[in-house]
């Protein structure tokens, strides 16, 4: 099977799912992106990406409890699967390999 590749936004989401653990659901992830990366992101884009990653088998989901803040609606909590983790690691290593090719920055 051909190797799957991830887009940049997908990679961010996947990393956040891995990082946020039990608190990884649509609205929380969107907020993390906004506060940490200072990047405007639309909720629907986050959702669509999450579903796509789930389709690819990189993350899985289960229902979590609702809070008052969200009108008692249940959350869908995403967790990273083994293949997702492997993918993330592989990507990170590939980046580092590539990074090594770059001449080290000279302090002027």
């Amino acid at each position: 099977m051909a190797k799957e590749f991830l887009g940049e936004f997908e990679e961010i989401i996947l990393t956040l799912v891995a990082g946020l653990q039990e608190d990884a659901y649509g609205a929380a992830i969107a907020e993390e992106i906004e506060t940490r990366l200072k990047r405007e992101v639309n909720l629907s884009a986050v959702h669509v990406t999450l579903y796509r990653l789930e389709d690819k088998g990189l993350i899985k989901s289960k229902f979590g409890g609702g809070t008052n803040e969200r009108g008692g609606r249940k959350k869908r909590i995403f967790t990273i699967t083994n293949s997702g983790l492997a993918m993330l690691k592989a990507m990170k290593e590939a980046r580092i390999d590539l990074w090594k090719l770059v001449p080290q920055l000279q302090i002027a």
């Binding site: 659901y25 649509g26 609205a27 969107a30 907020e31 639309n42 909720l43 629907s44 884009a45 959702h47 669509v48 579903y51 796509r52 229902f63 609702g66 809070t67 803040e69 969200r70 009108g71 609606r73 249940k74 959350k75 869908r76």
Partner: protein, 868 residues
């Protein structure tokens, strides 16, 4: 205070968001909204909520909706189709009845529809059709307004000159004169010519293949011909710009072909193969400026934006203004687009026309389709019990009523589709015959997308019409009752079925009555005494030199013994030639506007055609040379003039005095359906009216011998023209052509109705017998006779038909009386027609049902009662 998220937005989200994702998305949206509230104003947060919601309307979300459900229903559809096929195959007999009767219904409907559609396209293809009008005359005669569309020749040029709203106005005639065309050694005689003013070609959209429509008739000595005629006359050579010689010897003239027309389409009421400009006629005869002579059609094209009612008000008195006479008729314009279907006028106002027939045909088509649908409804509801278990099991395993309705609709649409394919083949094969029958050029346009859309929607409509009631009925079963074994009431909703059968047979009986009435009317009129003897009577038009050589031709025919008697006249005895309300006689009421038909004869007309002379004598020029100014009246004319002793009276026509020498018995001149018109036979004082010879063949010889002698003599005296003649009885029989078409259509329609309704009855009676098999067995065991059982079963089937007779019989009677009222000479329907029609239909019904019932009644009860 906590603000609520907008409800409308959530509702919108629920429309497109997949169910399994809805809750979390909603939750996330609300969570974002509550966080937004802390940062922004409420209004702004709400706007952001809406915007965020709308952003979910994207393929990544939307496409997550369908896949599962779509796959599922596709599976169900294949299952429906499979079950439908199995059900059809299991009951081959019923499926055949359903399929065949639907196919018949659709075929009949399609034929009628094609015909009706064709009628509506007549002369609708002209680019400026909405601005083209035909001029009509209208006159108040004896308190009634008569309207007709033959106008004065001078009307068209006057309209063009004096009214600024008129773009062009033309006269048009197609009299059917004979013309001999000579081109090289080719000689062709044609009667399909027309005369028109030069603007004809630009007014109407008859495209020219060669030539310029604006200048084609600039020169009077020009002619425009159709492609077909050009091929006939010039073969493969180029016709445009060539000259063609019309007439013979020194009498003819050469015309230049200045235009070649594309052959006229079939759906136009203009019929001509060549057209000659009016300017040519006027070159020889001078301009006609007399307003009293109505002999041409006048077409007018108005400028765009002209209001027709205003224009009609202006043009009304055009004749009065020009003739300074107040009693003459008025002129009005009537749209070209309405000429075909709406050109009947009653007392000056439009009152239908051909459209009435078209509407009847439409009703007939819908009736035939309905009868076929009724078969399907009846058979499926009657046999509902068979499907009941299937319905119950489907419901128990979770089917909604909707999906069951869809299943049964699928079945009926599938059946309608099959029937549609059958009838497409039938229409394709039968169209040439049907076209000939109705005398129209009908085609199936396979390349036209509308044809397929129309066909498919027809099938869909038929499927829904036939299937919707059974679908609703079947899908309403309660599974608990059925699976417990409580059976449905045995005959189901039998009152509905009975009503439908009543309607079916009501239509069948009405059509049967119409067949009987039309047939009797035809027989009646065909047996009407014509007043003259059609046997061995031939007429021949004077073509070429026959007029000049008439006397020698006549003498030689008599000498050779081919003819018993010969008379030259103005017109064949089967045609009207000219009539007038201007005859004067002593004691005439000046307001009397009775029309008298004119016939001119030289001598012995009564003898030649076999009229009965009841007073005075026949004309005889040899014995009485004064007979050149003699007149012979028919009885109707005598009555109209009020003579007690007509012989010796003097009547005046066109300034000539004629003395009456005889009276003949009434005879039919025009239509055998009308009352006999007053006819005056005039002597031969003037020579110009004569154009026909009536020849009474010698009955001592065979017809072939006589005709051979005529042909030989015609060659001698009229060598240029082909030998043509017509038997009077053949010409007379043509007067029945229209009525015979009506007869064929009613016979066909009633035949179809009875076949379809009969098939339905067969299916229904088979089923009714089938479910009563045990009852019959028990009755027989108890001692019932075969006859009493047959009787009982037949009665159940025939009862609705008897009710149909009661309900529809009177209606049919009124309808046929209405139809007959358009024929002045007609039968009275009488009291026996309806019982007779009813009896024949009931007899047929009994015949059909008894096939089943007798077999059931004869069956050995052991077989039906053996197992439970």
């Amino acid at each position: 205070m906590k603000a609520n998220p907008p409800r409308g937005a959530l509702r919108m989200l629920s429309w497109f968001c997949p169910n399994h994702l809805y809750e979390e998305i909603e939750g996330d949206l609300i969570q974002q909204f509550s966080r937004d509230l802390k940062k922004f104003s409420e209004v702004r947060s709400r706007r952001r909520f809406y915007w965020n919601m709308i952003r979910f309307f994207r393929p990544g979300i939307l496409l997550r909706n369908k896949p599962t459900t779509r796959l599922n229903s596709l599976d169900m559809f294949t299952n429906y189709l499979k079950v439908a096929f199995r059900v059809m195959l299991r009951n081959k007999g019923y499926s055949f009845i359903n399929l065949f009767s639907l196919a018949l219904g659709i075929t009949a409907f399609a034929f009628l529809f094609l015909w009706i559609q064709n009628e509506f396209t007549y002369d609708q293809f002209h680019a400026d059709k909405d601005r083209i009008y035909k001029a009509w005359n209208r006159v108040n005669a004896n308190g009634k307004i008569n309207s007709w569309d033959v106008t004065a020749r001078v009307l068209a040029p006057t309209l063009k000159e004096e009214y600024t709203d008129v773009e062009s106005a033309i006269s048009y005639t197609a009299w059917g004169e004979q013309h001999l065309f000579v081109r090289g050694d080719k000689r062709i005689v044609k009667t399909t010519g027309a005369y028109a003013d030069s603007a004809f070609l630009t007014m109407f959209s008859f495209p020219l293949v060669k030539g310029d429509a604006r200048t084609a008739f600039k020169n009077p000595q020009s002619i425009v011909i159709t492609e077909k005629f050009a091929r006939e006359l010039f073969g493969d050579q180029e016709a445009f710009g060539e000259t063609v010689y019309i007439g013979e010897g020194g009498d003819g003239l050469s015309l230049t072909v200045t235009g070649v027309l594309k052959d006229l389409p079939a759906n136009t009421d203009f019929h001509f193969e060549y057209m000659i400009p009016y300017s040519l006629v006027e070159k020889f005869n001078g301009k006609e400026t007399y307003w009293g002579n109505n002999s041409v059609y006048t077409y007018v094209k108005l400028k765009p934006g002209t209001d027709i009612s205003n224009f009609n008000a202006q043009v009304k008195d055009i004749i009065k203004i020009h003739t300074k006479d107040t009693s003459v008729h008025e002129v009005f314009l009537y749209p070209l687009t309405k000429m075909r279907l709406y050109s009947k006028f009653e007392n000056g106002v439009p009152s239908g026309g051909r459209i009435e027939i078209i509407r009847l045909l439409g009703v007939l088509g819908v009736c035939l389709l309905m009868i076929a649908c009724i078969n399907f409804i009846n058979l499926s509801t009657a046999r509902a019990q068979r499907r009941a278990k299937e319905v119950a099991v489907r419901k128990v395993t979770g089917a909604f009523r909707n999906s069951l309705v869809i299943q049964f609709l699928c079945e009926s649409i599938l059946l309608a589709f099959g029937a549609g394919i059958l009838s497409l083949a039938a229409v394709y094969l039968g169209l040439p015959f049907f076209s000939r029958l109705v005398n129209e050029h009908l085609t199936l346009e396979f390349s036209n997308i509308n044809f397929w859309i129309g066909g498919l929607s027809l099938i869909l409509i038929v499927g829904l019409l036939a299937g919707s009631y059974p679908a609703l009925y079947l899908s309403a079963f309660r599974p608990v009752k059925i699976l417990k074994g409580i059976s449905l009431s045995r005959t189901g909703k039998s009152w509905l079925r009975a009503t439908l059968v009543v309607i079916q047979f009501g239509i069948a009986i009405s059509l049967m009555v119409s067949v009987f009435v039309v047939q009797r009317q035809i027989n009646y009129v065909q047996n009407r005494d014509t007043g003259y003897d059609k046997e061995n009577l031939v007429y021949q038009y004077f073509t070429g030199t026959l007029r000049k050589n008439y006397e020698s031709y006549k003498n030689e025919l008599l000498q050779l013994g081919a003819a018993e008697s010969i008379t030259k006249t103005s017109t064949p005895i089967t045609n009207r030639w000219s009539n007038t309300d201007g005859i004067k006689w002593e004691g005439k009421d000046p307001n009397d506007k009775t029309l008298f038909e004119r016939i001119y004869e030289d001598s012995h007309f009564a003898t030649t055609v076999g009229l009965t002379v009841i007073r005075g004598r026949d004309m005889d020029l040899e014995k009485f040379p004064t007979d050149s100014t003699a007149a012979v009246l028919n009885e109707a004319a005598v009555k109209a003039m009020g003579f007690t002793d007509p012989i010796g009276q003097v009547i005046k026509d066109n300034g000539t005095e004629w003395h009456v020498i005889g009276v003949v018995k009434d005879f039919i001149l025009t239509s055998p359906f009308n009352k006999v018109e007053p006819v005056i036979l005039f002597g031969c004082k003037q020579s110009w009216p004569f154009s026909v010879a009536h020849i009474k063949l010698n009955s001592a010889n065979s017809t072939q011998e006589n005709i051979q002698i005529m042909a030989d003599l015609a060659k001698k005296y009229n060598p240029d023209y082909p030998f043509e003649y017509e038997f009077v009885d053949v010409s007379y029989a043509r007067k029945f052509a229209n009525l015979e078409t009506t007869r064929t259509i009613t016979v066909l329609a009633s035949f179809l109705t009875i076949i379809i309704a009969g098939l339905g009855l067969l299916g229904l009676s088979t089923y009714l017998v089938e479910i009563r098999v045990k009852e019959i067995g028990i009755r027989k065991v108890m001692g019932a006779s075969v006859f009493s059982i047959t009787n009982m079963l037949t009665w159940a089937s025939v009862k609705p038909i008897l009710i149909a007779v009661l309900f529809f019989g009177p209606q049919a009677w009124f309808a046929m009386n209405w139809w007959l009222s358009s024929y002045p000479y007609r039968i009275s329907i009488g009291i026996f027609t309806i019982p007779l029609a009813a009896l024949s239909v009931i007899g047929l019904a009994i015949l059909i049902t008894s096939i089943q019932t007798i077999r059931a009644a004869k069956a050995n009860p052991v077989n039906s009662l053996r197992n439970e």
